[in-house]
């Protein structure tokens, strides 16, 4: 027994060290606290959050925090947020590692608010961690802007101070139905195969309702366990005359699903999957990726401009997409993903609300957030204010991409929906 104990704890200890060392080097360097330059007349607000610097959300959370830090640097570099009464607000941040685990999230947020005196909060990455932290934000009367928390349920719990920057999960794939009906108006049958976890289930439940409302028949609705690597049992169940296959879950499983659909020569008009398609790595599937449609919170290609905002009669705020991409590339030497844009936008939402409120007082900033309706490089931002779903994102829509072949026959992403921001038109899945 004793020997077992020694060996056991030895292995655990080693795994800690390995986990810690295997974190990407950029994570530590980029995550250093950004401190604003001291200015005598300036007031400094502290933004508190936890970041998943270790654990399973490390990559996404690091990008999110990079985006937020870029925003902070730009705001402070421009001399801070200038209010109508002449006060200048600088921003500082305070954050801890939540290890991508829920256990300490509430403890850390309580500490951020009480000990570190955070004035505003940003959510951790993922809906699960955000759920735990939102209780604390609401309890201490702090505004929390969520990033990377797509689940609708977080905003249906009666919170009044939690605001979502992402398009909610219930609208993640509904646009795919619209694309299908545009491509093939006679489409009747779709099959849904999804990962059996919170996020994907939330998405496909809403998708099913929407598809049925549009007159489609959901011929197959099956969930698979997280980590599934063989989809043959599910693919074999797909009816032969199905018009579209939709679903998926996270990167690894969705990529495998797309590949096996190709290998099994499944013929259908459209394949629309979650999470994986917008990732550049999806191109490694070769021919199997061609024609696959995916939805993304934001794409560098998508065009939201001052002109398009003016056309819709919405106020423009913040940098253009190009300015954001260039600044991000210059600072972090990599292309921004939608997680990066989400982090940056969470900061912008606060900035716009503080400017409009003319104050950092919670009640005044809340009123400004409730009234917010702006267009940014990331899309439109507007929140639900009803008691049932306060803070839910209403303005922002998903962008749909499709993998197409360029002139050299190389796979590349094109934005195909919404039509206003499209860079190419969608096409029907070729016969396999």
């Amino acid at each position: 027994m004793k020997r077992f104990g020694v060996g056991f704890v030895f292995v655990i200890a080693l795994s800690f060290i390995v986990a810690s060392l295997s974190a990407p080097p950029g994570a530590t360097a980029a995550a250093k606290t950004v401190k604003p330059a001291a200015a005598a007349a300036a007031k400094t607000v502290t933004i508190g959050f936890t970041a998943s610097k270790t654990g399973k959300f490390n990559v996404e959370a690091t990008r999110q925090i990079n985006g937020l830090h870029l925003w902070m640097e730009q705001v402070n570099g421009a001399g801070g947020i200038k209010l109508a009464d002449g006060t200048v607000i600088k921003v500082a941040d305070k954050f801890y590692d939540d290890e991508s685990k829920k256990e300490r999230v509430q403890e850390l947020y309580t500490k951020l608010i009480n000990t570190d005196k955070a004035d505003f909060l940003i959510s951790p990455y993922s809906s699960g961690l955000t759920d735990a932290s939102a209780v604390i934000a609401q309890q201490y009367n702090r505004i929390m802007i969520t990033a990377g928390a797509a689940s609708d349920s977080t905003y249906k719990k009666g919170y009044t101070l939690v605001y979502q920057s992402y398009t909610p999960a219930s609208r993640y794939l509904t646009g795919a139905v619209d694309i299908l009906l545009k491509l093939a108006p006679k489409a009747k049958k779709i099959a849904i195969i999804h990962e059996n976890d919170k996020f994907a289930t939330d998405v496909v439940k809403a998708l099913k309702i929407y598809a049925e409302k549009k007159g489609l028949n959901v011929a197959l609705f099956e969930g698979y366990d997280s980590g599934t690597a063989d989809f043959a049992p599910f693919i074999n169940k797909i009816p032969a005359d199905v018009d579209a296959i939709m679903g998926g879950g996270h990167f690894a499983d969705t990529t495998t699903l797309a590949r096996q659909l190709y290998e099994k020569k499944i013929n259908t008009k459209m394949i629309a999957l979650l999470v994986a398609p917008p990732e550049p790595k999806f191109a490694e599937l070769g021919d199997a990726c061609i024609s696959v449609v995916g939805s993304s919170q934001w794409e560098p290609l998508a065009h939201f401009t001052k002109e398009s905002a003016a056309k819709e009669g919405i106020t423009w705020f913040g940098p253009t997409g190009e300015e954001f991409i260039n600044a991000y590339k210059a600072k972090y030497k990599e292309d921004p993903s939608y997680h990066s844009a989400g982090g940056y936008v969470a900061g912008m939402i606060l900035q716009d609300a503080i400017m409009k409120a003319g104050s950092t007082d919670t009640a005044k900033v809340k009123a400004a957030l409730d009234a917010m309706n702006i267009m940014t490089f990331y899309g439109q931002l507007k929140f639900a204010t009803g008691p049932k779903d306060h803070g839910l994102q209403l303005g922002h829509d998903m962008v749909y991409i499709q993998w197409q072949k360029d002139k050299q026959g190389k796979a590349m992403k094109q934005v195909v929906w919404p039509l206003a921001g499209a860079t190419a038109s969608a096409f029907v899945c070729p016969a396999r």
């Binding site: 655990i12 290890e99 403890e107 759920d131 994907a200």
Partner: protein, 322 residues
């Protein structure tokens, strides 16, 4: 009461009593949150120790009772409108019931086979709950923020939850001591040393092990309900995390298995260290490496656990530290 004359009985109790009492008196929120994490670890580690420490059966999937109990308690609370107290007890009872059923089957296995079976049970429970619609399936369940109003608003609700956890932890420690010092407990220790010999001597091993399993499963169910109520939501991924099971084992090992004081020391030491490193300005980027290195040092030089080491080296403390 004779037991009160034994420091091994009252020492851990008094420590937790004074500690929780101080937190309640000072009434500071940051302190409460830290104490909640620590007390939860003490409760979980101590209940695991009742099985692991006294019978020597390594349960890798003990977190299944935290998850199942938490789920049931949360369901009673959010869907059936039960009060927190009754829900938590309900969660605990269900965990104990499941442990009774499962124990009859898997406790016939020994050593590595039992350990593997417990992991399997955890995974099976997760798969079951993910597909069980009354429990919200893969999406899980949540309580509306207004549910906290019943307890006087979110702030007082968190204090109520803390107080309840504090009491539960003390009950676990009492149970742990009583089991160890009963005739029943002596039977368990005999099983730990040599199960076949114990059976020859008249210990009814299968029954004794099952009862122990039931006791050690009840408390994680109660604690699970409190934890998920405090978080406001529950989903399969959070309820059945194998790494929490492993951390429970580490805490028991660090403190000294088979002692009442050991899991208390181990859990507080381990969680405090992790919490300190996580928020300390010097270590916060390297917290896992530092925690790992410290665990290595402790286990290389103090393999019997902290309490075990003290007991072995200081004769006089043997009666004080049970």
């Amino acid at each position: 009461m004779k037991v009160w004359q034994k420091p091994g009985f009252w020492l851990p109790l008094v420590i937790v009593l004074v500690w929780g009492g101080a937190v309640l008196l000072i009434h500071q929120d940051t302190m409460r949150e830290s104490a909640f994490v620590l007390l939860m670890a003490v409760g979980l580690a101590s209940s695991l120790n009742i099985l692991l420490g006294y019978t020597g059966y390594v349960s890798f999937g003990h977190i299944v009772f935290f998850g199942l109990g938490g789920y049931t308690g949360f369901y009673l609370l959010s869907e059936q409108g039960w009060p927190l107290f009754a829900s938590a007890i309900g969660g605990g009872l269900l965990s104990a019931f499941i442990a009774g059923l499962v124990g009859l089957a898997v406790l016939r296995l020994r050593g590595a086979y039992f350990a593997l079976a417990t992991i399997g049970i955890n995974e099976a429970a997760r798969a079951f709950v993910s597909n069980f619609e009354p429990y919200g399936g893969a999406t899980g369940m949540f309580v509306n923020f207004s549910a906290y109003q019943k307890y006087g608003g979110p702030g007082p609700a968190l204090w109520t939850t803390f107080t309840f956890l504090w009491i539960t932890t003390m009950v676990v420690l009492v149970a742990s001591y009583l089991v160890k010092h009963s005739r029943f407990g002596l039977g368990l220790l005999a099983i730990r040393e040599d199960e076949d010999a114990a059976m020859v001597m008249g210990v009814k091993a299968p029954k004794a092990k099952t009862i122990t399993y039931v006791i050690s499963a009840f408390f994680p169910g109660v604690i699970g309900t409190l934890y998920f109520f405090k978080n406001g939501n529950i989903e399969p991924g959070d309820a059945f995390q194998l790494h929490m099971s492993i951390e429970m084992l580490v805490m028991v090992m660090l403190g000294g298995m088979g002692t009442v004081m050991g899991p208390l020391v181990g859990a507080v030491g381990y969680q405090w260290l992790r919490g300190y490193l996580l928020t300390s300005p010097i270590f916060k980027d390297l917290h896992l490496a530092v925690a790992g290195a410290m665990l290595l040092v402790i286990i290389l030089f103090v393999p019997a656990g902290l309490v075990g080491w003290v007991r072995n080296h200081v004769q006089r403390l043997q009666k004080v530290l049970e």
